[in-house]
Structures are given as structure tokens and as C-alpha cells.
């Protein structure tokens, strides 16, 4: 059973109007000249986003990085119509987020997971918590049960179905929040710093779960993170700065721009930073290692030749 299967059935109202040709069917999210102003018209108005255009294809795993206040969360909240554009347009599966009649369908297709797992728990029993969102969509009970089973299995929580959520570990709670979203069968997941409050094991579990969902189920993952090691695991990284896109490319491409990354107040993943130091010392290092094992491979090669 595929998480995206409902998409084929759903009618896709392509956005109409001059200057907005329908998005190709493999585009999950299309953002055109998006601007967002906080407190528009009030004395303290501030720019959240200042002209962002991008396309995220179905099945991509995209990390969004950038300093605090650069617009990462503001951007992500446009992906399921939690925020609406002050200017420009956001299309989710071809659905214009600014049309009220699309909001329900958009939220069904794009599920969000936030930083603090404690704020996302609604029930006193794990399986009820997972069922909550799907029930609210009006899914018939037998199918809800089926979806809950599947979501628990996908997040590795099957053994915990009868547990009280507040007694789970941080990583388990975050996977519970994820399971609740998965039971709604979204085709796209948006996670806003889901690992920020987790211990190392919890972070690792969550990351592995996201990668599995992406690979085996084709779920589009948009992962906002301040942790460069986590961003390095994505297929693509978008770096935000002052409400705009500063860099957009594969992790190797993005982290090859070490100077710019540093200026933005970000870091390289440790292996890339160590590699950079070795280069400065005159070693010829081929490429940008993103993980410890990447760097080990590179060093093994060099070591053979010296």
C-alpha cells in the first residue's frame, strides 16, 4: 500500500489565471516569487520572505538550513497553508494555497511535524494518538485501524501501541507525532527542526525513519534543521538567508561553498571541516566528504599513494 495512492484519485484543480501554467505532475511544491510580511500594515511589520522561487519534486528529500530568522519556518508554513503569501504564489500538487477551498486537501497531502514533541500529543494512548488525525479526516474505522498499524510499523512503535505517550522517550514521542501524520497518508512531510530536542539516539532513529519513508514509500521529505550533519544526509539542501534562497544544491555542492557557509553563520559537517583543514595544509583531497566514512575512504586512498 502506497502512502501516495490517494493522490491519483484526488482531483487536482490546477491553478488558473494568466502567468501560471499548470505545474508538471511530478512537482510536489511550486513556489513563485513568494513574499511574506509579518504584521503587514502595522508599525512593526517585518519581512519574513523576500522573493523566493523554488520547485520541489515528488520523492525528493530536501533539507532547509539557514541561520535563525532567515525564513526557514516561514517558508515551511506556506507548504501546508498555515501561512498565506503576502505576494507571489504557492502551489501544492497544483493546488493554490491561497484559495480557501483548497486548504483542507492541502493539509491532507502535506503533514507537518514540529520541534517540541510534547506539544503534539493529543491522547493518553499511543494508538489513539496515531488515529486522531485520520479519524478527523473522516476515514472509516476499519481503514483507520489499518492505517494506524502501518504507521506504527513504519515508525517502529508497534510494540508501544498500548503505552501512555508521555512516558515515551523524546525520540519515541517525535516518531509518534510522525506516525499520527503518516496515518493521514500525506504525500509530503514537512518537519520543522524535529531533532532539536532529541538525544543522539532519538535523532538517529528519526533520521533513519525519514530516510526509509522517502526511499521505500516515495514520500517527499522537507526537513528543516540547524544540524549540518543531518542536512548532509538529504538529497538536496536549500540554504536560506534574510528571507531569500542563498544556496540550493546537493550537499556536496552546498558544502563546497565553505566560505559562504561560514559567512552565513553556519558550519560544515565535521568531516567536511576537517577535510578543509587538510586541504589548507596542502593535502590534495578529492571532493567534499559528508560523513566520517566518506573521509575515511578518502584518507585510505591518499595514504596508499604516499
Amino acid at each position: 500500500m502506497s502512502l501516495g495512492k490517494d493522490l491519483d484519485k484526488a482531483k487536482v484543480n490546477m491553478a488558473e489565471g494568466p502567468g501560471s501554467p499548470p505545474a508538471p505532475p511530478d512537482v510536489m511544491i511550486q513556489v513563485k516569487d513568494l513574499a511574506y510580511i509579518y504584521g503587514k500594515g502595522h508599525p512593526g511589520e517585518t519581512t519574513g520572505l523576500a522573493g523566493v522561487s523554488l520547485e520541489i519534486r515528488r520523492g525528493e528529500y530536501v533539507a532547509v538550513a539557514g541561520p535563525n530568522g532567515s525564513g526557514k519556518s516561514t517558508l515551511a508554513r506556506h507548504f501546508n497553508a498555515l501561512l498565506l503569501p503576502s505576494g507571489g504564489q504557492v502551489l501544492v500538487d497544483g493546488l493554490d494555497t491561497s484559495l480557501p477551498e483548497n486548504v483542507w486537501e492541502i493539509r491532507r497531502r502535506v503533514g507537518m511535524v514540529f520541534q517540541n514533541p510534547d506539544n503534539q500529543i493529543v491522547s493518553t494512548l499511543v494508538e489513539e494518538d496515531v488515529a486522531f488525525g485520520a479519524e478527523n479526516l473522516g476515514v472509516p474505522p476499519p481503514e483507520v485501524r489499518e492505517r494506524v498499524e502501518e504507521a506504527l510499523a513504519l515508525t517502529g512503535l508497534t510494540g508501544f501501541r498500548q503505552h501512555a505517550p508521555h512516558l515515551l522517550s523524546g525520540g519515541q514521542k517525535q516518531r509518534l507525532a510522525l506516525a499520527g501524520v503518516l496515518a493521514m497518508r500525506p504525500s509530503c512531510l514537512v518537519l520543522d527542526e524535529p531533532g532539536a530536542m532529541l538525544d543522539p539516539a532519538g535523532r538517529r532513529e528519526l533520521l533513519e525513519t525519514l530516510q526509509r519513508l522517502n526511499r521505500t514509500r516515495g514520500v517527499t521529505v522537507i526537513h528543516i534543521t540547524q544540524l549540518m550533519e543531518d542536512a548532509a544526509r538529504a538529497g538536496r539542501i536549500i540554504v536560506m538567508s534574510a528571507g531569500k534562497i542563498a544556496l540550493d544544491g546537493t550537499p556536496a555542492e552546498v558544502f563546497a561553498r565553505a566560505g559562504q557557509i561560514e559567512e552565513l553563520g553556519l558550519d560544515l559537517p565535521a568531516p567536511a571541516e576537517i577535510n578543509r583543514g587538510l586541504k589548507r595544509r596542502g593535502f590534495i583531497m578529492p571532493g567534499v566528504p559528508l560523513t566520517a566514512s566518506d573521509l575515511v575512504q578518502m584518507i585510505k586512498m591518499i595514504n596508499k599513494h604516499t
Binding site: 512593526g44 539557514g66 541561520p67 535563525n68 530568522g69 520541534q115 517540541n116 501512555a164 512516558l167 522517550s169 523524546g170 525520540g171 527542526e193 532539536a196 530536542m197 532529541l198 538525544d199 543522539p200 539516539a201 532519538g202 535523532r203 538517529r204 540547524q226 549540518m228 550533519e229 553563520g265 553556519l266 558550519d267 559537517p269 565535521a270 568531516p271 571541516e273 576537517i274 583543514g277 587538510l278 589548507r280 595544509r281 596542502g282 593535502f283 566520517a292 566514512s293 573521509l295 575515511v296 584518507i299 585510505k300 591518499i302 595514504n303 604516499t306
Partner: protein, 292 residues
């Protein structure tokens, strides 16, 4: 030198009597020295937050004893003044604000200490600057308008304004960008050096522990599982992983290199140390020569 925090055989039980009874703390004994940068790590639910809430008497021991700044925290009378000596910054600062402006919020503590108006103002400005916030802006801004990172900074300023002898920070850098994390820890480190204060840092970030802490305690299921310098602790990768923790990436890199037959030494914790060690092993003399 006598310890500034002394914990002796501390046990704390909560949800007592329910089927889920857990003992977040089980016979913990430790000492934190005056002026030390001390880290506490452990998986979620290992008891870190419970432990540090005993340091200023927010929680009192079920059994065992805790002394902070020479005060037995079971002593109700003596405990009363402890809040200004042991400053505690919690995990979710957004839940601690209540004043209309950031400035007023930071001023709350020092005002309650009975300081003069001038002195309160001086302290607030100093504390805001310490954490990298603009005092002028703080007089106009509501704390609820702040970004997550700046909320964290404001909460820390509120506690710094008390000039506590011990500053306890529960996950202060979670959600901050890399530069923000570094700057905040620099501010905290400066405060420690200038005021000979003690820092207790609760964190999930092993790189921070490696770079900053002098000693580290590892909690596991309410017990003190390990204690030592970061170099001692991070040699025990297997044990740490079994407890839901990890070792810093440079240390992991060294482990993998040794596994691949490259004879780098153990005990490397930071990027710089790793770079140096790899250069030494693969480059010999040439490796240490800088090519400009």
C-alpha cells in the same frame, strides 16, 4: 577546595504508586567544584533535569542530601535565598516570560533582590549585552515577538542579571544556528572566567561537551553511569551508544580510521585535533607544512 554543589546518595521518585513508577534519580553522588565547567549528558528521561532542579531547591531530595553554595537544600530557611545564587535556565524559555518588554522581563530578578533602580538598570543592560541582545531594542520589544534563538538569549539574560555563583543551563543551544550556539557558549564561558562562576550545562550535543566541559557526568536511567573528563568519557563509544548517546564526530572518525588500519591515536575530540592527527599520520613532515 570545597565543592560548590555536593550531591550525596540522592534519590528522587516520581509518579510514586502508579503502575509506571519510575525513579528518575537513583542514589546519585557527585561533586561540582567552584569555577568548574561541568556538563551533564544522558538520554531523554535519564534524570538530568530532575537532578539539576535539586541544585536550587526547586526539588528537595526524597532521600539523600544536596548542598549548594554551602546550603543544605533540605533546610527551608536557608534555601530561601538560593534562587539568586544558583540560576537555573529551563528548556523552554518561552514559558517563563510574563512582562511586557524584554527589558522588564530581565529586570524582574534583580528588582526582587532589592537593588536600587540604577543598579537594576545597569545589571539589565550588562546582562543583555552578555548574551548579544540590544538593550535599546529590548525596551520596546515584547519577549513574545522574539525569535526562538533570541527568546533563549533573553531567558539567559534574566538569570545572568542575578550574577549567580552557579549558572545551570538546560539545553541552552537547542534550536540555535551554529554561530548562535558558539556565541552563546562563548558568552557563558566569559561569564564563568570573569566572575569565577560555576557552569552546569545539560546538553544532548556531544561536540559542545568535547569543546567546553572540564568534566562530564553521564546519567543513565536515573543513575550516575560515568563521570570524568570528556577525553576519558568519549573513549567509551560502545557504552555511550548503548545509553542512547554518542561520541563527537571527530572521535568517531578516528575510530573508523584505526579500524581501517591507519594508526591515529585515541583521545581526539575536536575538528582541529583530528586535522592535526590525520596530517601527522598520513603526511609525516610534509603533512605539517602549511602550503599558503
Amino acid at each position: 577546595m570545597s565543592p560548590i554543589i555536593r550531591v550525596e546518595n540522592l534519590t528522587h521518585i516520581y509518579s510514586a504508586g502508579t503502575p509506571f513508577e519510575v525513579a528518575p534519580l537513583d542514589r546519585i553522588s557527585l561533586e561540582i567544584k567552584k569555577g568548574e565547567f561541568y556538563a551533564i549528558v544522558g538520554a531523554t528521561g535519564s534524570g538530568k533535569s530532575t537532578l539539576v532542579q535539586h541544585f536550587n531547591g526547586l526539588l528537595t531530595p526524597a532521600t539523600g542530601r544536596v548542598w549548594a553554595c554551602g546550603v543544605d537544600i533540605a533546610d527551608k530557611k536557608a534555601r530561601r535565598g538560593l534562587w539568586r545564587k544558583v540560576g537555573l535556565v529551563f528548556q523552554h524559555p518561552e514559558q517563563q516570560f510574563f512582562e511586557e518588554t524584554v527589558f522588564e522581563d530581565v529586570a524582574f530578578g534583580p528588582r526582587n533582590m532589592g537593588l536600587s533602580k540604577d543598579e537594576v538598570r545597569k545589571r539589565v543592560i550588562w546582562a543583555l549585552k552578555q548574551v548579544g541582545l540590544d538593550p535599546e531594542l529590548a525596551e520596546r520589544q515584547s519577549p513574545f515577538q522574539l525569535s526562538g534563538g533570541n527568546m533563549r538569549r533573553a531567558a539567559i539574560a534574566g538569570v545572568l542579571a542575578l550574577k549567580p555563583e552557579v549558572l545551570v543551563l538546560d539545553e541552552p543551544t537547542a534550536g540555535l544556528d551554529p554561530r548562535g550556539r558558539r556565541q552563546l557558549l562563548d558568552h557563558i564561558e566569559n561569564y564563568r572566567r570573569e566572575h569565577h562562576s560555576t557552569i552546569v550545562l545539560v546538553t544532548h550535543n556531544m561536540e559542545e561537551v568535547a569543546a567546553r566541559a572540564q568534566r562530564v557526568a553521564v546519567l543513565h536511567e536515573g543513575r550516575l553511569a560515568l563521570q570524568g573528563t570528556p577525553r576519558e568519557i568519549f573513549k567509551r563509544a560502545g557504552e555511550l551508544r548503548a545509553m542512547g548517546l554518542d561520541i563527537p564526530v571527530p572521535a568517531e572518525l578516528m575510530r573508523q580510521l584505526r579500524g581501517a588500519g591507519i594508526p591515529v591515536r585515541a583521545g581526539v575530540l575536536t575538528n582541529n585535533e583530528a586535522e592535526e592527527e590525520i596530517a601527522r599520520v598520513i603526511g609525516g613532515e610534509a603533512g605539517t607544512r602549511r602550503v599558503e
